[in-house]
């Protein structure tokens, strides 16, 4: 069984510096870059394969001159007003450890404005690294949450409220602090993810460990150690499956990248995702790898059947979770970019970006860039953004 993904659109030199993070919303693809700005790319144009004017219409929001490396968005529906409103809350983290918040309504970027959800003192005491919104799925029991990790290894959780007070008449987004999962040693908490369905939260660390805790009590449940003997064993990314029954973790394994699956009920390791290799390429201790380079990010599709991974080897791979097999590989090259002037083969320091490492990948739900099929979006070191969709379908 294989899946085929075909390019829909791409844009080269999309930012003036590396693009570290991407988030696909209903109307826009949002990218965060080292040049310090967020860019909002119209999904409609991508749908129409209108790549030539993609850059003309992009909305640029300058945030912080030190550069941005994480972006996430929470979308909440305001059912109570006269008009049904969708409120989008964007959080982005800059390299100086500060978290910034923006808000816009529906798909209207003219309403985009900077908002203050945390006061400056709160931001100052943390040195943020990543941020993530957990949607409680508008379930009244489970509230939406903001989860952040910081460079000292702590995970902090806030509860999000859209309305000013209980009467729910006035929209005034705010956060209430829930608590902290603190780390025993000062090591960078590289990534976090949470599953509202299972009530779990997972934090990955630069020393290779993953701690899974309970979302309601913040009590640690399991710790997964890295199986890498190498000193380079940082956890790059981790993601819960949509139902929350699985946790996928990408670890550095020396200069390779390995992906491990855990089930979350008992905290058992299920296995590794790996490509068939010749025996000569097999690593010491028999572990196999998923990418010939670090795996920077993971993304489950909406059903949880497939996992997309991206790596330093300039490949995006899609895996069948049930079979634990690779079903698709996309080999990217800087020369793929449609507009020739936007092809970037070297960066400022002379490093080649001909085969660009891929920093982030996201599955795109049906109906956003294609009516019947799911898609993929990835950002690469050649400062390009690429969109793909699955081939075929009815």
């Amino acid at each position: 069984m294989s899946k085929v993904f075909i390019p829909v659109s791409n844009v080269g030199k999309a930012h003036d510096a590396d693009i570290y993070s991407v988030k696909v919303l209903k109307g826009f693809t949002v990218t965060a870059s080292g040049d310090g700005s967020l860019k909002f790319w119209s999904n409609k144009k991508i749908y129409q394969n209108d790549f030539k004017t993609l850059k003309d219409d992009v909305h640029v929001e300058f945030v912080d001159a030190t550069g941005l490396h994480h972006v996430d968005c929470l979308t909440v529906n305001d059912m109570l007003g006269n008009d049904a409103l969708t409120v989008n809350i964007i959080s982005t983290v800059s390299f100086n450890g500060i978290i910034h918040f923006y808000q816009f309504v529906n798909e209207n970027l003219s309403t985009l404005k900077k908002i203050k959800l945390l006061n400056p003192e709160e931001i100052k005491i943390h040195s943020f690294w990543s941020s993530l919104w957990v949607n409680g799925n508008n379930d009244q029991v489970v509230s939406d949450r903001l989860i952040t990790s910081d460079i000292k290894g702590n995970t902090n959780i806030w509860k999000f409220e859209l309305y000013k007070d209980e009467t729910k008449t006035e929209i005034e987004p705010h956060l209430t602090y829930q608590g902290e999962i603190s780390s025993n040693e000062p090591v960078v908490a590289t990534c976090v993810d949470a599953s509202a369905k299972r009530g779990l939260i997972a934090t990955g660390f630069a020393n290779g460990t993953v701690v899974v805790s309970q979302l309601s009590t913040l009590r640690p449940l399991y710790t997964f150690e890295s199986n890498s003997s190498s000193t380079v064993n940082s956890v790059r990314s981790l993601k819960f499956s949509p139902l929350g029954n699985l946790l996928a973790v990408s670890n550095d394994f020396g200069s390779f990248g390995s992906i491990t699956l855990y089930e979350t009920e008992f905290g058992e390791k299920i296995g590794n995702l790996s490509i068939p290799t010749h025996s000569g390429q097999k690593l010491i201790s028999g572990t196999t790898f998923a990418h010939n380079g670090w795996v920077f990010n993971l993304s489950f599709n909406s059903t949880g059947e497939f996992l997309a991974t991206c790596g330093y080897d300039s490949k995006v791979r899609v895996w069948d979770i049930k079979l634990k097999e690779r079903v698709s590989t996309l080999n990217l090259s800087a020369n793929d970019i449609e507009i020739e002037d936007d092809i970037m083969l070297h960066d400022e320091n002379g490093d080649s970006t001909k085969f660009p490492p891929i920093f982030d990948v996201k599955f795109i739900n049906k109906g956003i860039i294609n009516d019947t099929n799911e898609g993929l979006c990835c950002v690469c070191m050649d400062r390009s953004i690429r969109w793909f969709r699955e081939a075929g379908g009815n």
């Binding site: 590396d18 570290y20 380079v232 960066d347 002379g350 490093d351």
Partner: protein, 338 residues
């Protein structure tokens, strides 16, 4: 007349008057260019021995002026005050001696000439710098040379007093002492390259194996000293292609920035962390420590304040961001010593 507290109180009904009366008469001696060092000593000794009055020694420390009283009087006294005066005067004495005999001493030598007084070499360094602030052009006590230079063609250094120094082609030597007015000329019209290195090991390798022809190779052995930076500034007209090679860690980038401050046309050339990752050898990579992360973050913030005339800044910013994003660092030796 005898002074008693009751008399004093009678004559001075207010607190302010009392303090004014009790404060001794004093004289101020300024350490600056208008007074020669011999004058300063004369003024101080006259004041203390003949007039029996305390002295205020006034000198510049950066933008501010500092005043030390000797002997200490009044409310502003601090325990280390007299010791500081002693250090300052001792250094002035040494500098005066060297200046009259036209010799130089290194900071290290000065420190070892009176360890109990100075306690640390850093103290000497600090006060010599303060004296240099007040006497610009003071060259009697100088830091020991640290940087090394290799030149493929013979270079000549002319000082303002007419003296001349040679750096022989094809040899490695310590970076020579330079004055503000010194000029450097070279027999050949142009070097192909000026290469600035962080590590001495890499420098030695390049020099020994004669890997670079027709070029000038300089190392400041880690963070460069004043002299190395001044030297680079003075040779920068000999070649437009100036390349900086440093470790792929935040300190390396800080060092590169240090060089670029005196030589804006110098270009940061790595070793970049991407180049290290591409070697596919995990032994070349180390994890970023919390200290490294902090340095990187602070440098990124600092970069925003630097003026954008340095064209190399985007490359520096990129390197810092990638360090943080990848969470790794490495050394240049592993790349260049192959």
């Amino acid at each position: 007349m005898t002074i008693s507290l009751s008399n004093l109180l009678k004559d001075n009904p207010t607190k302010r008057c009392l303090i004014e009366t009790l404060t001794p008469k004093k004289r101020s001696v300024h350490i600056d260019l208008e007074n020669s060092i011999t004058d300063i000593f004369n003024l101080i000794s006259n004041c203390l021995q003949i007039n029996n009055e305390p002295v205020d020694i006034v000198f510049k420390t950066g933008k501010m002026k500092n005043t030390l009283s000797f002997p200490v009087y009044g409310k502003a006294s601090r325990s280390h005050n007299s010791n500081t005066v002693l250090i300052l005067l001792t250094l002035l004495k040494i500098i005066n001696e060297r200046a009259t005999t036209n010799t130089t001493s290194t900071i290290r030598d000065v420190y070892y000439s009176n360890v109990p007084l100075f306690k640390t070499q850093r103290t000497v360094n600090y006060y010599v710098n303060i004296i240099r602030l007040n006497f610009p052009g003071m060259n009697s006590v100088i830091p020991a040379q640290k940087g090394l230079v290799y030149t493929s063609a013979t270079m000549e250094i002319y000082h303002a007093d007419g003296s001349k120094m040679m750096l022989m082609g094809g040899t490695s030597s310590l970076i020579p002492y330079l004055y503000e007015t010194s000029t450097i000329a070279c027999a050949v019209a142009d070097f192909d390259k000026i290469i600035i290195l962080e590590k001495e090991a890499v420098y030695s390798k390049l020099v020994q194996n004669k890997l670079m022809l027709n070029s000038l190779i300089i190392t400041g052995k880690g963070y460069p000293d004043h002299l190395t930076r001044k030297f680079i500034n003075k040779v920068s007209h000999l070649c437009s292609d100036i390349e900086i090679f440093v470790d792929a860690d935040p300190d390396g980038i800080c060092i590169a920035l240090n060089y670029m401050k005196d030589c804006p046309m110098a270009q940061y050339k790595g070793i970049t962390v991407a180049a290290l990752i591409n070697t596919k050898d995990e032994d070349n990579l180390m994890k970023l420590t919390p200290r490294d992360s902090t340095i990187s973050r602070n440098l990124l913030v600092k970069l925003q304040r630097l003026t954008s005339h340095q064209k190399g800044l985007p490359g520096i910013k990129l390197a810092l961001q990638r360090h943080l994003f990848f969470g790794v660092k490495g050394e240049m030796n592993s790349m260049l010593l192959r």
